[in-house]
C-alpha cells in the first residue's frame, strides 16, 4: 500500500484476520474477496461466510525481486491455494524452505505479520498459509 492508511487496514481486518468471503445464496458459488454480485448467475443476494482454513497448493512461485517493503523476506513463496470448499485464495506460504514447496502440498492458515507501513506506520496483520506437518 502506497498511501499509509489506518482506516483501510481497520475496515479490511475482518476479511483478512478471519478469511471472510462471500457465497451466492442463489447458486452457491463462493468468492474471496467478497463480491457485490455473483459472476456465475448474476444474483446480488450474497452472504458473508467464513472460509475453510485448510487447502492445497494449485501453483506457486518464489519471489526474488520484491516490491518496496518486502525486501527482508526474499526469497518468499507466493501461491494460489484451493481451500477445502473449492474457493481459491492468493497467499504467501510461510514457515517453509522455498525449495520444499510443491504443487498439491497440503497447507493451513496461520496468523502472521503481513507488512509494516513504513518505520513509523502501523503494522498490518493477516493470514498466510504453512505446510501441514
Amino acid at each position: 500500500m502506497i498511501v499509509e492508511s489506518v482506516p483501510r487496514v481497520w475496515r479490511e481486518k475482518k476479511y483478512k484476520y478471519r478469511l471472510i468471503g462471500s457465497r451466492c445464496k442463489s447458486c452457491g458459488s463462493t468468492f474471496f474477496p467478497p463480491k457485490a454480485a455473483c459472476k456465475k448467475c448474476g444474483s446480488r443476494d450474497l452472504e458473508e461466510i467464513e472460509l475453510p482454513k485448510r487447502g492445497k497448493i494449485i501453483t506457486y512461485t518464489v519471489v526474488r525481486s520484491p516490491p518496496r517493503g518486502f525486501e527482508y523476506l526474499v526469497p518468499y513463496v507466493i501461491a494460489i491455494v484451493e481451500l477445502e470448499d473449492g474457493t481459491r485464495v492468493l497467499t504467501q506460504i510461510t514457515d517453509v524452505n522455498p525449495e520444499e514447496v510443491k504443487t498439491g502440498m497440503q497447507v493451513e492458515a496461520v496468523f502472521r505479520k503481513l507488512k509494516e507501513q513504513s518505520r513509523s506506520g502501523i503494522i498490518e496483520y493477516g493470514i498466510k498459509f504453512r505446510p501441514i506437518r
Binding site: 501453483t59 507466493i78 501461491a79 485464495v89 504467501q92 503481513l114
Partner: protein
Amino acid sequence: MRNVYVIGVGMTPIREHWDKSLRNLLAEAIARSADDAGISLRDIESIYVGNMSSGYLQGQEHIGALVATQLGLIGVPACKIEAACASGGMAFHQAFLSVASGMYDCVVASGVEKMTDAITPDVTVALIMADDQEYVANYGATFVSLNALVYRYYMEKYNVKQEDIALFPVHCHRYAQNNPYAQYRRAVSLEDVLKSPLIADPIRLLESAPIGDGAASIVLCSENFIREKGLSPEVLVQVAASAAATDTLSIHEREDISTLTASIKASRKAYEMAKVEPNDIDVLEVHDAFSILGILHLEDLGFAEKGKGTVLVKEGELEVGGKIPTNLFGGLKARGHPVGATGIYQIAEVFLQLTGRAGKSQVDGATVGMAQNVGGVGSTVVVNILKRVR
C-alpha cells in the same frame, strides 16, 4: 458507425531517456504522428493518452491537459485512459469510438510511460497496482510472480517444457534487430535466456519485458477529414475492428488459470466486426510481457490449440514467411514495454506493415494486421484490427 482510418503514426525510440521527461516524450510522439499524417497539430480535435503510472512514478496526473499545454493546443479536449498495461490499446479504442460516433473528425490516440525516473523496487510497486491491492499485492505478490503462477500451472497442465516456452523471447530479440525504435536491438540465444537470473520461478530475466521510457501516437480520422483536407494517402488503412473485454482482476478467481478468457472474448468480437478469421491475419502483434504470455496469446487468439502454442514458435511459423508472422518489431520483450505506450506502439507497427514501411521485417502484401494489448494478467484485453483498403 462511420468508417475510421489511420493516417499517420509517430514513435520515440524506447530507451532510458534520462534527458527527457514524460511531457517531452509524449509531445514528441504526437508531433511526429501529425507530421507523418501530413496534418497540422491544429487539426487535432481530441487527444487520448494511454498511461498507467504517471501518478505514482512522476507524481503527475492530469496528463491530458499537460500535453495539450505542451503542444499549444489550448482548448482541445484531452484525457488519460488507464487500463494498466492495456492503457494504450484502450486509448486507441476510445479514440476510434469518438470518430466512429461522428463526434470528431480527427483525433490522436497516444501513449506514454516514463519508468526510469524510479528505481526497480518502486517500478515493481507501480506494476502490481494492475492487480488487487487489498487482497493480492498485500501478500507481497509482484506482477512477475502472478505470471509465474500462470507459467508453472501451464507447464504442469499441458506438460510443456520451459526450453520451448523460452523460444518466444529468442524470436522477438531476433526481429528487434531490424527495428530502430527497439530498446534491445540484439539477438539472444536460448541458452542466454535459460541462464539469465530468476525473477520469480520459473520466470527468468530474459523472459520478462524490460523497464524503459517511450511514447507513441496515432492519428485517426474520418472519410470527411481526408476529403476536406485534400489528403491522398497512397495506401489507405482502415480500422476494421476495435474490441475490448475484461476478466477477473486476479487470476485465483478464474476457473482455468492458463486461459485468458478476455483474450478469447475480445478477439472473437474483433474477428466478427472485421469479418475475418484468424487465418486472414497477415501480421500479428501480441502482448508478450512474459514468454509464457506470448504462448498463451497464440492459443487464446485462435492460432493454436491449448497446450500447442510453442509448436508455432518451434516450427518458425511466427517468422516472415510463416503462417502467422508475429512480433516482427521485437514485441514487448525486445522492442520494449513502456507500459501505457505499448498498445500504441503495437498498432503503429501494424500500420507500418500495411503501408509497406516495415523495412527488413516487411511481410510482402500484408493487408490485414491485428494487435492484442493486455492489462494485468489478462484482466483487460483490447484487440484492434487494421485493414488496407486501398
